[in-house]
Symmetry: none
Subunit: 420 residues, 2 copies
Amino acid sequence: MIVELISVGTEILLGNIVNTNAAYLAEQCAGLGLSCYYQSVVGDNVVRLRAALCTALERSDIVILSGGLGPTTDDLTKETTADVLKMSLVMDPHSLERVESYFQKMGTQMTENNKKQALVPQGAIVIDNDNGTAPGLILEKNGKRVILLPGPPNELRPMFEERIRPYLAKLDGGTLYTRTVKICGMGESKAASMIQDLIDRQTNPTVAPYAKPGEVHLRVTARCADEREGEKMVKPLVKELKTRFGMHIYTTDPKVTLERAVVELLLANHLTVSTVESCTGGLLAARLINVPGVSEVFKSGYVTYSNKAKRRVLGVKKGTLHKNGAVSAQVAEEMAAKAALVTKSDVTVSVTGLAGPDGGTPEKPVGLVYIGCCVCKKTTVKEYRFNGGREKIRESAVSAALTLMRQCILEYYSEVTFRK
Amino acid sequence: MIVELISVGTEILLGNIVNTNAAYLAEQCAGLGLSCYYQSVVGDNVVRLRAALCTALERSDIVILSGGLGPTTDDLTKETTADVLKMSLVMDPHSLERVESYFQKMGTQMTENNKKQALVPQGAIVIDNDNGTAPGLILEKNGKRVILLPGPPNELRPMFEERIRPYLAKLDGGTLYTRTVKICGMGESKAASMIQDLIDRQTNPTVAPYAKPGEVHLRVTARCADEREGEKMVKPLVKELKTRFGMHIYTTDPKVTLERAVVELLLANHLTVSTVESCTGGLLAARLINVPGVSEVFKSGYVTYSNKAKRRVLGVKKGTLHKNGAVSAQVAEEMAAKAALVTKSDVTVSVTGLAGPDGGTPEKPVGLVYIGCCVCKKTTVKEYRFNGGREKIRESAVSAALTLMRQCILEYYSEVTFRK
């Protein structure tokens, strides 16, 4: 089946935002085995949106539109689509109630224009929006399928994941069964080269590497009759990947993120954790705290950005800072070790580095980061050189810190077990 | 003049890469006053590329294609375009020399297929590529202009900047002038309803609201002869927006983010700041630390997620926690006030809330957040009820905290001035 993506929004046409929705949807559709030959972008304009939709309906089986479902007069996607498909708009009481309760929960007055979001084309499958007000819609007419999704990625993605993906997977008779093998501490090209022989001779199931910040996901996909058959089909390939990547694999569960894998490792071993951050400025703590249930293991987080804070809060020695500079292996080590004393935590992680844009020198360039990890009094420090701008460097440092934590904890326990 | 963008590449259709070129080119074209009504993406496929190009040439004056200029058999953009425009390909000796010397410089053997990159449509304006091998091309035929650019952003951007931009700027005389009025502490629908009358009767300049997480941006755009005229044209409308939105406006400078506005306010008033976070887990500190130069004002950040950490690190009273619960106005107030004592900072901000997914009760539902801000010993606490998942709630809380900090600092100084 052929799918086509239309992104609606003048802000994309003007280049004010990057069209990450298209990349997300394209990747998802490819994963579902749908062929995508065209993507297009149109502004909030009835005539041109109409033209784009008509063209798409001529050449594709499924058209996914994103954006333009909001409350303002600019938002025209639903109205235009209903008009093209000759479906009339009716008020959906369930959606209206959800929009109203959204505002009630926020404690703000709902303006009249918000009611428009509860209008749906008659006969549409309405998809509740758990992260915003505009519901998603699936329209089936004349053998074609049109799917309307809200523009904000934090609304579009969960909606696709939970409702649209299963809907699309069922269309082709068969289904797709996917297992994702998630890898940390290794770059994409290295990982890809390690499975090139598998890729070259693959038919069904297939394996494909996807680069994520600080990680690589190997997606194993089988086209199959049902989930049970799929599970059976992917099993030998997943086993082969486990042999090849060993300790680098932190999960094969799609819901488990790297931070969750780390938190689960802490929980399983009854270890408490604290963080001390300089250049990442709280991002590492924030990622750990994004894991529900982390409160059982997370003791405290410190953001010690200045030298003064490193000394006052943690007791890092003036001499260590003076002799080696704040961005050094010695300071990373002392930050982690002192934090263990101050917080009485089993595991402490420290990050100090140059995120830029200024402050780099030939010896200590922007992107140089030291990460320290102290597990039950044993401290490991690693040096990293990251590329990219300030945000990318900080994001890479957070992933590296999680990877190092995982590695240090595993090594500690393998040694303990070995000694026994 | 109307411009249209076609991005060529199967990797974009598959969602393997995000189409940042389109955003870049769209923004550049908008800045040049060119109207862009359509963007599209096609794979490395002659038939579909041909169709997309023919459609674009029918409805636009200028078509910019990016990607598919490389040496492999997959790269078909130049061949297909020459065919559509009925121009024959000839070997360009200058380009061939550049390709050859590129390989010489790299110290690698040039494979035969690389010669293909020096083939150009007869009569084309050839644009040297200083960062790669495939030259860019400008083709003028039958009153239409087709511009071909290489796909890698580090080749495309400098080429556009140095050669294409000046070429396009000369075509049309006019330009677009844009000012963005950034607002915090107010939702999109409220902001939109406050300017509906302006939107309804607008011609030139125009104003349009854009929702950003925790903010609304009002973009004022004038179509004008030059920057100077544009500035004059938007001035009355920007002034009107300032009257309507008052203190809610935190900047009219496109480069200033909310966190930067807050940091600048701290710098201007020689105020130091520290953060104490529970549910946001370090995200607030991380956003502040994303502002270069923050080290002058940022003292330290604490992530006190558990009750124990709130007591041990900050000295929040056991009784306060016990009586009101960790998610309460009283605890937010005490966190901010105690942090001011512990860190000796002029401004402290505390965040405590329920980010979910679990732990909500009818009285204290998921999304309930209290934010405290202490400015020179005066503490303000506000209650918020955010929607969405864990990540969205935390992101909303961070924006609200920045907004509250700004408000409290401004109020403090307006009172100080008033008392004088």
